[in-house]
Symmetry: C2
Subunit: 344 residues, 2 copies
């Protein structure tokens, strides 16, 4: 590459953050990975491994773990945020004290904040001076990417400069990066698909069959499109990598946490035990509640989301939910779009 | 049911035709199944089985196999056609001699005719006096439905009377029937998705990973939407049961013929042997050629369809095709719709 190497900061040393740092470093860029855990930091810097986040991965020497935010941000050309949705605001508050207003920030988080039901970019704008931002989302199971398998992803932003920077930092024959101008739609699809994946995991575990699983996923996709459209997204975004693409990978992969949550619930395991056993965040568990709240605010019926929410938080047995969803009243196969947006 | 029982004719005693006949009969309707094979006919009428088409199924006594078309058509309230695409015209020619012009006909065939690249409803209208017609399509793997597993499907027609008849004949808590007014879109999605399923089967066999498989399916979906739109379909139809729903089931199910064709090709087995071993029609093998021809006529690029066509008919190795598709130039994640239609 004839362009100069970048300096890229990555916030979040979990599964996806660590994998992203590795991809950036592999392209020859200096990569600062914010990592609060001293043991993990030591392993990254001294042994070039991070067994807690990506078992088996040998990290590039260009990935440097940092305890503090300031040195990660200082001098960076681009900041990638891979922070769980419920910790996102707190990290933004810390970031606010050190981030310059012209630093491009791209988040890679698929979720809503509890209670506020805000998207991550909304929190970023409310808590920091950052105004040039984007989102990276798509069928990107980190475990596969860390093993060198190929994938496609979407960067959605209103800033062409950010799309170019993300390409320079990350694009390769292994990670194909596509463009979108629908930031809102990409964020909403990324958050909502996790709920559909929980439903698919339930249907799978119950051996409902591939027809029934495809039926449920399609109904979920329809509700996703309607809700995202009502919230100001372009409906076509749901047909892209961040929508149906991500849904497809999430519903197929044994690595998907949300899918595993659905399967465990179908076996009758209580949610608390499922999450404890998982040991990681399953974003769909939070997103179900936000999706239902947002739909209610817009007078929109989202039966699949409502049933999953009831399984997660109101003890509705998974088998009853799947049976009820299979017997919902029939009607138009796909909704009409093009009318008025319900919410903004 | 307080409504009188219908008389329903089913043309085609294969996997899907036999399953449909069973569903109709189970609802209490008299069902005439056109079956040209004397042994199969004898088994259906005397032993209530049809091991060659649906192994293990015990047929309702209300399914009656008929050797001739005339008695199947005479007195029928509704005709269902489950005939392979390449035999569809010949059956229409026979049907033309016995069918009354006001008989509602619903076909259940997912393919194009070779060379003419026509949809099944186009052939029906050209060869017969039938003018009230529809299509039934969706994630409906026959083997699962015959085993009593639930599914959803779409009936697309311009005639509300036909949608009502199909519901009376087939709808149940096991088979949920949704509506569409986009006959063209439902036919196109049903035919095109089989080509994408071949690509998914290849990626699966090559262990390209769930990210890559989802990427390829999404690119295929995008090309499907663009081509269907160019041919006069509504793009949203691809997001429904007949589009992404069917694609999802086809790409997941071990029973899918097209998926199996893709997997066998990836193992290096020549197409002729694959089809011989399968012993059944894999519609995607024909649909790939038609899709490419239709796209060429509209100056539309469909790289995924083109690569699969080359694997099928020009000896391009499957591994090379998948590698090339993973490295196609990037760009917009989803195409813009709403401009002019390219073809009609």
């Amino acid at each position: 590459m004839s362009e100069r190497a970048l300096q890229v900061g990555v916030l979040g040393a979990g599964n996806w953050g660590t994998t992203l740092a590795q991809l950036v470093a592999t392209k020859g860029h200096a990569t600062q990975l914010w990592c609060r855990d001293p043991e993990q930091r030591h392993a990254i810097n001294e042994q070039h491994t991070s067994e807690v986040s990506v078992p088996g991965l040998v990290l590039s020497g260009k990935v440097h773990a940092e305890a503090e935010l300031a040195p990660v941000v200082a001098g960076s050309d681009l900041l990638l945020m891979a922070i769980p949705s419920q910790a996102f605001r707190e990290v933004c508050r810390q970031l606010a004290t050190v981030v310059p207003p012209d630093l491009p920030v791209v988040h890679c988080t698929k979720g809503f904040e509890n209670d506020s039901n805000l998207r991550m970019s909304e929190i970023l704008v409310r808590e920091t001076c950052v105004r040039q931002f984007g989102v990276l989302s798509g069928p990107n199971i980190a475990t596969e990417i860390a093993r060198g398998k190929p994938a496609g992803t979407v960067v959605a932003t209103r800033f062409p400069r950010i799309a170019r920077l993300v390409r320079r930092a990350l694009a390769s024959s292994q990670l194909r990066i596509f463009d979108s101008d629908d930031l809102r739609g990409v964020e909403l699809c990324g958050a909502l698909k996790n709920v559909v994946a929980i439903a698919a995991g339930m249907a799978n575990e119950m051996q409902a069959g591939d027809n029934a699983k495809a039926f449920l996923i399609t109904r979920g996709m329809t509700e996703m499109m309607q809700l995202a459209f009502a919230l100001g997204a372009q409906p076509a975004t749901a047909a892209g990598l961040a929508g149906i693409g991500d849904l497809m990978a999430t519903c197929a992969s044994p690595y998907s946490r949300n899918h595993r949550v659905g399967a465990a619930l179908a076996r009758g395991i209580p949610l608390a035990s499922v999450l404890h056993e998982l040991g990681m965040v399953a974003e769909g568990v939070y997103a179900a509640r936000s999706a239902c709240a947002l739909a209610r605010a817009g007078n929109l019926r989202v039966p699949l989301f409502e049933h999953i929410e009831r399984v997660l938080h109101e003890d509705l047995p998974a088998a009853k939910a799947v049976a009820a969803l299979m017997e919902l009243p029939t009607g138009r196969d796909v909704p009409r779009f093009g009318g008025q947006q319900l919410l903004q």
